[in-house]
């Protein structure tokens, strides 16, 4: 008999005593506020040496000379690793066996293909000696002219963009739609290169023991890093132990193992001692990924009543000369606005840069700020309020595919956000509002969207006779709150209070928790945990229902529910038994369940799955100086079931600030002559500081999604960047009447 425990049919939040949905504080919080939390670079195994990268100061060419004897002569220097003596690899770092395998610079030759590329590693007894040794290498180069910027070469249509998406997609007849339009917008927007700049620089502490490798290393994807390293090093994945209990931020830059981390591992192999390698901040602008610059042309047609007739979105992007990552910027136009004709297309230019990489909302962020700006321009062309215009073109089905949405509470987001912000009564024309100090005041809005993705993960759950439980999964907490949210899901999955649950995570010897990316970690890891817990509970239920001595004997088709360490008969809750009693009578110390998760292909085929939101911004601009401040930000987001509102609100705030920074602050500036970055530091590469940040509010809009997964979870990590950038840009226009189409917006755009 298969017991019907129906865990998957009863949403966990509906069960009594649920941990899901509670605003618990961060489980590892005390470790973090006391300085005890041990990040990768805080480790210091006995006998450890320090490794420092020497990085290229040219963007293209080759290294002709490294003064290795000078470096070796410096007191404390133990070794210099160059292409001449780098330990052999089992796989060419330029091999690309699958699209997710990105090429790495591991001293395979003297060629230089971007500025800040690693060209040597100096290993020494102290950090200071290694740093000085790296300086003493005094590299000489044969430099070729650097190819910089969006106009550096001939553009081509990339084979795919993002993760396997077509570079060109089309529904309807865009040219006919534009021709028939009463109102048209044709505008080109530019966005700059941006760098992740997690506060924790990439680091590795590597120790070899024979062919076994022990690593302290921040990772958003331990199993993928393990597999990549196993291939490069020619050792078994299970011989590689990765500890990544805390990441000091990732934002995509720690999703795949970075070249410099592999170099630290190779340095440890070379010297036969543990090695620590931590990137200097300026070395993070090159070999660890970035968001590429874009130039996007939006053509929008609308009838006199504001109904869209066509939406065409083209993105020109850059990528490196030696690998294929194509930012899917134009795909932002697939989801939000109903139009009988939509065309999205991409072209790319190869330049002398490190390979771009997934950076928080890759494609969505770049595409959204252009799309939301253009929609604002189209609303103006139709003499309509920007919110009314968006509602007029509200997509009831996903425009590019025609699929119904699995859920979409965007109308509620618009309504609640607008109400909270006080949008009603906003004058249509710009430069109509001033504050008491004479500052121009502007209000703008943008729509937020991000796909609800699911990857694959595994988990293990154990229920013990002593009344406790253990859930294990090699998941990743880069600050988003995974330890807390996943533990909440785990407690519900095994029917225990969160205090009775031991949650183990953050090391690679646990079941593969998938990758913390694509805003999919809570859903993916959570569903694996849900399945594992369900299986453990099912084992218990079998034991009880088959045993005549159990009050649950014969519950059969009525089934049981698990909570607070007991199983209850579903149709008669007066009949229940504790886990401890069931296991004691069965003579078992514990039961175990294993679970897997992955997207449901049937549901994904049938439905378009996205989170949505609406963001409203107020800016104030000095009419004489152009000095600009964001003074208010209100976001309203609907992202399915919220596991922990306290953590989720933080994710929204952080995303909104990234969106504001996209509009106003962040920009990597490359010297056109040398191909080197001019602002590769945190003083000149501007990320917002406390004093830049406005009063903020993030509203959690209720949404139930029966299709995305059994827990109803979408993702919250990236969506808030989208919409916010456009909202700020549109508020700047509303304040000043000047439309900046090049980001970040500068003072000189406004005076």
């Amino acid at each position: 008999m298969t017991p019907d425990i129906s865990l998957s049919q009863v949403p966990a939040h509906a069960r009594h005593g649920s941990s899901i949905g509670r605003p618990l504080t961060r489980r590892e919080g005390v470790l973090k506020v006391t300085g005890v939390a041990r990040y990768a670079a805080d480790n210091h195994p006995a006998g450890m040496l320090y490794a420092v990268l020497a990085a290229s100061r040219i963007a293209r060419g080759r290294v002709t000379c490294l003064d290795v004897p000078a470096a070796m002569a410096h007191p404390g220097v133990v070794a210099v690793m160059t292409p001449a003596n780098r330990p052999a690899l089992a796989l060419d770092p330029d091999a690309k066996l699958h699209p997710f395998m990105f090429r790495l610079d591991l001293l395979q030759s003297d060629a230089v293909r971007y500025a800040n590329q690693p060209i040597a590693v100096v290993i020494a007894e102290t950090l200071e000696a290694a740093t000085e040794g790296a300086a003493l290498l005094a590299p000489r180069y044969e430099a070729l002219p650097a190819r910089v910027g969006l106009d550096a070469g001939e553009s081509f249509v990339p084979p795919v963009v993002g993760v396997g998406h077509p570079a060109e997609q089309l529904v309807g007849d865009v040219e006919a739609g534009l021709a028939s339009a009463a109102r048209r917008v044709d505008a080109t927007y530019e966005t700059p290169a941006q760098y992740h700049n997690a506060m924790e620089p990439h680091a590795v502490v590597a120790a070899w023991d024979g062919d076994s490798l022990s690593l302290d290393m921040p990772s958003q994807g331990m199993a993928m890093a393990q597999a990549r390293l196993a291939g490069l090093l020619g050792i078994a994945p299970e011989n590689i132990m990765i500890r990544s209990p805390f990441l000091g931020g990732g934002f995509g830059s720690k999703g795949l193992i970075a070249g410099p981390q592999v170099l630290g591992i190779l340095a440890a192999r070379l010297v036969g001692r543990p090695v620590k390698l931590v990137l200097r901040r300026e070395q993070m602008y090159g070999p660890v990924g970035h968001r590429p610059p874009t130039r996007q042309r939006l053509r929008i047609g609308a009838g006199a009543d504001g109904t869209l007739t066509a939406l065409a979105h083209h993105a020109l992007i850059t990528t490196s000369t030696f690998d294929d990552f194509f930012e899917p910027a134009a795909d932002a136009s697939h989801t939000l606005y109903a139009s009988p004709a939509i065309a999205t297309s991409h072209t790319a230019v190869r330049i002398d840069t490190g390979t771009p990489m997934f950076m928080r909302a890759p494609g969505e962020a770049t595409g959204s700020i252009a799309l939301e700006s253009a929609i604002d321009e189209a609303a103006l062309a139709c003499r309509m309020d920007p919110l009314a215009f968006r509602l007029k073109n509200y997509a009831e089905v996903e425009p590019i595919s025609g699929k119904p949405f699995s859920s979409k509470a965007l109308r509620a987001c618009y309504a609640q956000g607008a109400d909270r912000f006080g949008w009603a009564g906003r004058p249509l024309a710009p430069r109509q509002m001033r504050d008491a100090a004479g500052m121009l005041v502007g209000w703008g809005m943008g729509t937020a969207t991000f796909p609800a993705l699911m990857f694959q993960a595994e988990a293990r759950a154990v229920i013990r006779r002593n009344g406790g439980g253990v859930v294990e999964i090699g998941a990743h907490d880069m600050g988003q709150g995974a330890w807390t949210a996943l533990a909440q899901i785990a407690a519900d999955a095994v029917g225990l209070g969160i205090e009775q649950l031991e949650f183990r995570s953050g090391t690679s010897d646990l079941p593969d928790g998938g990758i913390a990316g694509g805003s999919a970690h809570t859903a993916t890891a959570g569903m694996a945990i849900h399945a594992a817990g369900g299986e453990a509970v099912a084992r218990l239920a079998e034991l009880a229902m088959d045993d005549a001595r159990s009050p649950l004997f014969g519950a059969g088709n009525a089934g049981v529910v698990a909570r607070d360490g007991r199983l209850f008969r579903r149709d008669d809750e007066s009949r229940s038994e504790s886990y401890a009693d069931i296991l004691t009578r069965a003579g078992l110390a514990q039961v175990e369940g294993r679970g897997k998760s992955g997207g449901d292909p049937a549901a994904q085929t049938a439905y378009a799955m996205h989170a949505h939101g609406a963001v409203f911004a107020e800016v104030k601009v000095d009419p004489d100086l152009g000095q600009l401040r964001v003074t208010r930000l209100v976001g309203a987001f609907a992202a399915g079931r919220i596991i922990n509102p306290r953590m989720v609100r933080s994710q929204y705030y952080g995303g909104m600030i990234w969106g504001m920074a996209f509009a106003l602050h962040e920009e990597a500036v490359t010297d056109r002559r040398s191909g080197r970055m001019l602002n590769a530091n945190l003083a000149d590469y501007h990320i917002p500081v406390n004093a830049d940040v406005p009063e903020m509010e993030a509203l959690l809009v209720e949404e139930h999604d029966p299709h995305v997964n059994a827990l109803g979870i979408k993702g919250v990590g990236e969506i808030a960047i989208t919409g916010t950038g456009g909202a700020v840009a549109n508020a700047v226009w509303h304040a000043t009447g000047m439309r900046a189409r090049r980001f970040p917006i500068r003072i000189d755009d406004l005076v």
Binding site: M199, L682, N690
Partner: protein
């Protein structure tokens, strides 16, 4: 190169270490005294993750030479709590979810303590500008400000605090 012997006070306890003339205080704290709560985010004084208090002044320990610690009194994140009892700032950071990845958090807490040591009743603007030298890439800052102002209010009221 011969090393220099430095005698100092860290978190109220006498401490000594050997260092080279060019070593930063941050490296001495992290590598010699095993106080790894102070973080290195930039080594150029831009991010504030290495903030410590030296004789009452807020300092980026990556910009101060270790030898300059001679005879000084240094407070690091490890010295903010009173034994197992969290400082009100630490409690309020947890309550307000004013931390995410946690890498900048030690610096923020030390900087916030320095603020409240100088000014027990800061305005929001004063708090924002005082803490503008500490970068955070996760939180969006707002919750940090709420936590600092809330902690300040609690400390002024003499409500249950860390003593």
């Amino acid at each position: 190169m011969s090393k220099i012997h430095v005698t100092t006070t860290v978190n109220g306890e006498p401490a000594e270490f050997l260092c080279q003339p060019g070593n930063s205080l941050l490296d001495a704290l992290r590598d010699d005294l095993n106080l790894t709560g102070s973080k290195e985010g930039c080594s150029s004084g831009d991010c504030g993750a290495c903030s410590v208090i030296v004789d009452g002044r807020l300092v980026c320990s990556c910009l101060m030479l270790a030898v300059e610690a001679e005879g000084k009194s240094i407070t690091t994140i490890e010295g903010i709590a009173n034994g197992d009892v969290l400082h009100p700032l630490q409690r309020k950071f947890l309550e307000h979810a004013a931390l995410q990845c946690g890498f900048c958090t030690p610096g923020f807490l030390v900087a916030a303590k320095a603020l409240l040591d100088h000014n027990p009743d800061p305005t929001e603007t004063e708090a924002r500008y005082w803490l503008a030298g500490n970068l955070c890439r996760c939180t969006g800052y707002d919750k940090i400000i709420r936590a600092v102002l809330d902690a300040a209010a609690e400390m002024r009221a003499g409500a249950p605090a860390g003593e």
